[in-house]
Each structure stands twice: as C-alpha cells, then as structure tokens.
C-alpha cells in the first residue's frame, strides 16, 4: 500500500517539475490546463525571488 502511494507521489512531483510530460492518471485534469501552468510558474518565480538574496555558486561548476 505504501509503495504505490510513494510511486504516485514521485510521478506527481516529476510532472510538476517538468521531468514527465504527461500528467499521471491519479492527478486531477485541471493540472493540465494552461491556467494551472501559469499559476505554478508564478508560484515558482515567487519562491525563487524570495530566496534569491542568499544565492551562491553551483557546486559542480568548479569541477
């Protein structure tokens, strides 16, 4: 029971992160609408702006 739930959670997060193109069946259909993507991008941009003051280099750029 736990594993299927975790797998669905993974799929949902991968969809929201742009790793997967197609929405998992368990997610509601409105998560595929352009409105949703607009809101989601705005939320991510807000999050980025909120934390951007402490920005540092990417670790692997030095490798």
């Amino acid at each position: 029971m736990m594993i299927p739930f975790l797998n669905e959670l993974k799929s949902g997060l991968e969809y929201l992160g742009g790793v997967k193109e197609d929405s998992p069946e368990s997610l509601p259909k409105w998560l595929q609408s352009p409105w949703w993507w607009g809101i989601w991008w705005a939320a991510l941009i807000l999050l980025i702006l909120m934390f951007s003051g402490q920005s540092s280099k990417f670790i692997y750029i030095d490798f």
């Binding site: 736990m2 594993i3 993974k10 929201l16 992160g17 742009g18 790793v19 193109e21 993507w37 989601w40 991008w41 991510l44 941009i45 999050l47 980025i48 909120m50 934390f51 951007s52 402490q54 920005s55 540092s56 280099k57 990417f58 670790i59 692997y60 750029i61 030095d62 490798f63």
Partner: protein
C-alpha cells in the same frame, strides 16, 4: 571544499540574468527559426560567445577566454579520426593532457615537492577553463567511439556544435555524439510542449537551488575545524546530512536547468538524477546519481578494464579503480581520492554481499526496503564527509563524532 577554490563565489552562470537574456532565449529562438543547415552555426556562435563571456566575467578571465582555442583545435583534430586509427588515441591523450595541466598540475607537482613555497613548478596563476572536466569527457568519448566505429564523424560544424553546446557545456549532463547528432539535425518541433516543459524544468531547478540547496549553506558552513571542535556532538551528523541535501538539490537543480535549457531548442539531453536517495543499495545509488557520469565511467573506464567479464577478484579491482578515477575527477585533492575509495569499497562489499545472499527479492516487505534505503542513505552521507572537507578536517570531524579526540 568551499574554501579550497579561489574566487569560487563569482562562478554563477545559470542563476544570472545574462545567461537567459543574452544566450538561452535568443539562441533557442534563433535555433528554432533557422534552416536546418544553419542550426549548427547558431549553436557554435552562441556557444563560443557563451564561453568567452562567462570565462571573462566568471572563470579564468582573459587567459580563460583563450581556452576557446582548445575547442577549435579539437574540432580540427577530430577530422583525422578514423575507425581503428592510432590518431584517435592521440586525441584521447591530448584531451587528458589538457585536463592534467589545468586541473592537476599544482596537485601532482605538490605531491612531489610539497608546499607551494617549496615547489619550483608551482603555477601561481592556475585557473580552470570553463567546463574542462566535462568537455574532456565528451572529447574522449568521441575519439574512443570513432576508433571503435560506434559513431559517424558528422561535419566539423556538427561536432563543434556538440562540444560547444552551451546548456550542457559547463557541468553536463555528459552527452553522447551519436545521441546528439540526430537531435540537432531533427529537433522536436512541438514548440509549445518544448517551452512548457523546458521553462517548468528551469524554474523547478532554480527553486531547488535557491529555496533548498542555498538554505542548507547556513549549516554546511560549519564544516570547518574551528566550528567542529566547538560544536556539540549531536550537531555534526546534522551538518553532514545538510551537505547531503545541499549537494543533491544543488546539482540536480543545475541538471534540471541544463536539461530544461536544451529542451527550449527541442533537444533532449540525458537525465542525471532519478531519486538517488531512495535507492536500496549503493549499486542502485550510482545508477541514479549523476547518471551520465556513471555511464561514462562504466563505458570508458570499467569496461575497458575488463568490466564484469573477468574473475571475481579482478572485478573488485576494476570497481575500485573506476571509483578512484571518479574521485580524482571530482577534485585535485587526497580527500576526493578517499571519497572515491570509500564508494569503491562500498560497491565491492555490496557485490560480495549480494553474491553471498543472492539478489534481493522484488517482493520483499516494505520495512526491509525502508531499512535498505535508510542504510544506503547513511553510507552515502558518511562519504560526503570526505567530499566536502579536506582530510585533516574530516579526521577531526570523525574523531569528535566518535568521541575519540
């Protein structure tokens, strides 16, 4: 590691506006609207400009910018590669030489002469050309695969667009020419999906970097001798765990931005991470962490050494050597060698363990899966100590943690 590299704080690329406004968006749009024959030219012009701009402003300065000549030389020299030709091996050797000179010169001469003051060969103005560790791997891959006849030559412009492709130039994912070539010739044309997925991936990567990885810096900054010695013991594993979180979200965020950037061109590049901290063994961890590097090391180090088609003892040696190469590649320092050896030993132990007990059953109960996941996570996190601290600091860390100082 934070304080080992001079001028490190200036090295921001994907989290700067010039990357998006001067390079990514104009290049992706130009690529989309250009005729097929001009796509390589677009990649080369923007890739060259990207290398010059960020070399001058972030890494290496004017001398760093001159390293663009390495790409021009490699593009010209690669035209000599033929199946079975010794010239391919010269190509491999010269690629390794570039890396040794720029990345390991002071480390190797220092091993013999000692401190910089005593080292007559010490290179005071040493710098790392932008992305040298990664483009070296692509150079070697192309030479080796041309030697084996595993890839077509393509045109000089196409090969140059492969090595100068700026979304993946600095820190991967490490591409393969035979995968990249068809994509630059026939990129995906569903622009709406490309931009929806690409922009989402970039924003998610930036959010991982800014909101999670950078937040961990408050804890990981304490991983120095003075703070470790004055800390409560319970704080030490938390600081180390914070580094494990930081490096994952930092590099997977970086990879997200690179993959998303490439997607704006309609080009898919390899994935680099697939939930590595949820894996149930160290072997699975390495199949899901920095995937493009693991595959490169498998194909160009482990298999040429004999891979797993030799006697058991030799397989273990091959695993150890491969992980030592991985450690040394990550940095010119003894701590990186120890980190590689740590993972080599873990992989050998895992191999012997599974040979003794047999492979894990796919229908094992959840608690066993959870235990294996937590165990793998802990082993990996102990290893980060050698990655993020030099050896004396790591020794102080473990002595204090174990109460033996």
């Amino acid at each position: 590691m934070f304080d080992q590299r001079e001028g490190g704080e200036r090295r921001m690329i994907f989290n700067t506006l010039p990357y998006y406004l001067l390079f990514l968006f104009p290049a992706a749009i130009a690529f989309q609207f250009s005729r097929p024959a001009w796509r390589s030219v677009v990649c080369n012009v923007f890739g060259g400009a990207f290398f010059l701009f960020f070399s001058i402003t972030a890494v290496g300065g004017i001398p760093g910018a001159f390293c663009l000549l390495i790409f021009l030389w490699e593009s010209a020299f690669s035209r000599l590669y033929r199946k079975g030709s010794w010239v391919c091996w010269v190509g491999v050797l010269q690629s390794i030489s570039f890396l040794v000179v720029f990345k390991y010169w002071n480390f190797l001469t220092g091993l013999y002469f000692g401190s910089p003051q005593l080292n007559p060969w010490y290179w005071k103005g040493a710098f790392l050309p932008l992305g040298i560790s990664f483009f070296t791997f692509e150079f070697i891959h192309y030479a080796a695969d041309r030697h084996q006849g595993r890839t077509e030559a393509g045109t000089a412009a196409e090969y140059m667009s492969f090595i100068l492709y700026f979304p993946t130039m600095v820190a991967g994912p490490i591409k393969r020419y035979q995968d990249f070539l068809p994509k630059i010739r026939n990129p995906e044309t569903d622009s709406l999906t490309n931009w929806r997925i690409g922009v989402t991936r970039i924003l998610a990567g930036l959010a991982k970097k800014f909101a999670i990885a950078d937040l961990m810096t408050a804890f990981t900054n304490h991983l120095n001798q003075a703070d470790i010695l004055s800390a409560q013991r319970w704080a030490l594993p938390l600081w180390l765990a914070a580094y494990g979180v930081k490096i994952y979200f930092d590099f997977s965020g970086y990879s997200d931005i690179a993959i998303g950037s490439a997607r704006l061109f309609g080009i898919r590049v390899p994935e680099n991470f697939d939930w590595p901290y949820l894996q149930t063994s160290i072997a699975d961890f390495w199949r899901h962490w920095h995937i493009s590097l693991s595959r490169w090391l498998t194909d160009y180090v482990f298999i040429p050494l004999g891979g797993s088609r030799v006697k058991e003892g030799r397989i273990c040696v091959n695993l150890l050597v491969t992980m030592l190469v991985s450690g040394l590649w990550h940095g010119a320092g003894l701590n990186f060698l120890v980190w590689g050896a740590w993972h080599g030993v873990l992989l050998v132990a895992h191999r012997m363990w599974t040979r003794w007990l047999g492979p894990a059953s796919p229908s094992r109960p959840f608690y066993r899966t959870a235990l294996c996941t937590v165990g793998t996570y802990l082993w990996v996190n102990v290893g980060w100590a050698f990655f993020c601290m030099d050896l004396p600091t790591a020794a102080v860390f473990f002595r204090h943690l174990l109460g033996t100082r």
